[in-house]
Amino acid sequence: MLNFTLRRLMFTIPTLLLISFIIFLILDLAPNDPTGNLPLTIPPEVRAQIRTSLGLDEPMYWRYLLWCKQFFINEPLNLLNQWFGWCIGDCENRLRVTSFLTRSPVVDLIAERMPQTLWVVGMSYVVGVLIALPIGVISAYKQYSWFDQFGTLIAMIGFSVPTFFTGVLMIVIFSVMIPQDSMFWLPSIYDTTLKVVDWPSFVQQMRQMAMPVMVLALFNAAHISRFMRASMLDNLSQDYVRTARAKGLKEKTVLLVHVLRNSMIPVVTVIALGIPQVFGGAIITEQIFKVNGLGQLLIIGIQNSDIPLVQTLTFLFAVLIVIFNLVADVLYGLLDPRIRYD
């Protein structure tokens, strides 16, 4: 197992380098220009100067290598400096990956936004899983009952209705139609400066998280509950279930110990593979509720052709996807004794 993990880890290095180069190529070849969104009143000579100051005059391979140096060498060294105070080389004037738009280090921007994304999108994932698992289990156990039909309906709605619709619908109901002094009123705009210090501010944090979390949780729950249900159904008709019942085990034990455990194997993989999406943020939902998460950062970067920012963010997402693929494979091996990689 350890051998397998190490081998896979070694293999990820060339994979990630290739991915970073492809991302760079896509961004570079796209017909886009960081000065494109500036007002037309800025004359072309000034635009040319701006492009020069952003380093866009350098040849392509040079800019890629520069990014690699900044990202793979300078940024980790800077992190060591920030976390442990270790100073290796010239730590004062080290060139970090710098956003075109804000002219500030990209990694700092990401670090500033990570907590909101983890809170809102992460919470919605947890809530989604917590809703999905019981729905999946009961739907499968009572197949074709009214509960199953209802669960299917909810799942279909969650799948097919896009978040930009459910999000705005919830805002219209909870922020516009319900009067502001009512206890059910929820803010439509996420206050990113709110600090949780006491009970009232905690309540306020919960209120402002409620809508984005519910919108995303519906979507996640729809997805996972279908997997859970399908996996349960597969297992319920297996011979070992009949054996367990024949031995006179209680129905509860049969269902929750034997069937559920075996059914979880594929579901855990699906959940693990979905985690990188949490870090990726939910672009649309974050945009609707103005949560300053990573998804919103990415879309702002794309709109303004902020190449270093988009490059770094997409690459980090790629890293997470590769890592969680590995985690899912390892988990699979751990959960299912029949699967061995060596």
Binding site: G36, L38, P187, Q287
Partner: protein
Amino acid sequence: MKLKYLVAGTLGAALLSTTAMAQMERGRDGNANIIYWQAASTLNPYLSGGTKDIDAASMVLEPLAHYDENGNMVPTLVDEIPTVANGGVSADLTSITWKLSEGLKWSDGTPVTSADVVFTANYCMDETGGCQQSAKFGGVKSVEALDDLTVKITFDGPKPFPYGPFVGATTPILQAAQFANCMGTAAPTCTEQNFGPIGTGPFTVTEFRANDTISLAANPNYRDPSKPAFATLTFKGGGDAAAAARSVLETGEFDYAWNLQLAPEVLADMEAKGQGTVLSGFGPLVERLMINLTDPDPKWGDERSTVAHPHPFMTDPAVRQALSMAIDRPLLVEIGYGKAGKVTCNVLPSPAIYDSPNNAGCEVQDIAGANALLDEAGWVRGADGVREKDGVRLSILYQTSTNAVRQDFQALIKQWWAEIGVETELKNIDAAVFFGGDQSSPDTFQKLYADVEMYANNFDGTDPEAYMGNWQCSEIPSPDNAWLGGNMPRYCNPDYDKLVKEMAGTADINERARLAIAMNDMLMQSYTIIPLVHRGNVAARSNTLEGVKLNVWDSDLWNVADWSRAK
């Protein structure tokens, strides 16, 4: 002791009403919330040309003078605006001398001096810094401090409008002490300075979250002790225009929302909720059609859309005039902009002094007239209803950027043009590409590989000299000048160039207005630029917010010091 207080209290009450007392105090109205649906990325306007960044910075940093809501210059950090009359501008128009007000302080308590102004000029004029406002310093030869409070700006020739540098929110004064190490190539590395500049404005930055939220607090050293009324201010960014409008007009969570370019009926519905008011103001922004006078046919290869090959039919003035006559401008305004638009027959409709009275009449759509004009010019309808002459068909490729209103306009205009026997093919291009100026892209608005294109443009400040200069022969974009230049129609008229030169040497405002109107009329009467809609800025304010004056000549937040909460 008690008696003394009592006497003082009664006297005080007798002299001043309690509300008057309250008005004396800075920060009396608590917190205000502003939402910009594009978030601010930096607070250094010299490193960002974006309106959102310039507006956000205008609460902290101030120029020497700014424009009020009517486009008049008003002193900010000086006592009076230098003019030729008061001796501030030299008689030969080559220099301007500004005198700072006495006793001004930065928010950190240090005095504002002429050294700060000189530093700011050098900061932006450093070519390696990528200063985005360097056009404002065009023609500046030197900026020098004559004494602690006096700054002299010398130009390399006569400058009839010397109010480029340090007037308006785009070129505020930076504190020399803070930015000393941020010159040239070091400019982008000064994150801390760019995110929290020390200024003279009514607010100071307490926290800056890039592309998200700025928290501000009242500046304790602001020159007017009774302002600003708000102790703190939150500047939230992100989302979209509809959500921003909703947060002010429907949910009431925010007090002010910027640039609400929304469908007119959407805004009207939201305003009907009674929480807030929609404001509109008109600057020089005009949505217009640019006619390509050169041939965009791909068969010319590198010489496409260059003056080497005149356009097969757009060079006929009758065709251009007919295209303009067929358009129902009031309907376009109603569908696309509502309160935020007005019909215009001029490409230079504002400020009022420059608005030509000579082109009225375009308000009325005249399909029959347009048809008659084309008949007379010898364009005959073919079997498919499209007019032809000598084997040339009136078939147009009409491009613009991707935007719901623009696509509506395209569809309507295509239909009207079909009624006069002109066939139209529509094309829309992502704004970042269209306006992007990427040399390798065939779809930029400069290359104009189409017969007609539509977009909006305007100019900074109130002086149209540089803007009208866009349509000189030398401004025609072509491969020789890397497709730079603002003369999209490839219009070239020696008489027009003569007027541009004359304006560059004229200081008298009325004479300048006469010249600008003459230039506007030349363009309009040749129908190379077809104006459609005079577009306004739209904003919304909460009904509890007082003192907001929408300003199209300067930052939206130009008078944020005067904003207060309605009692």
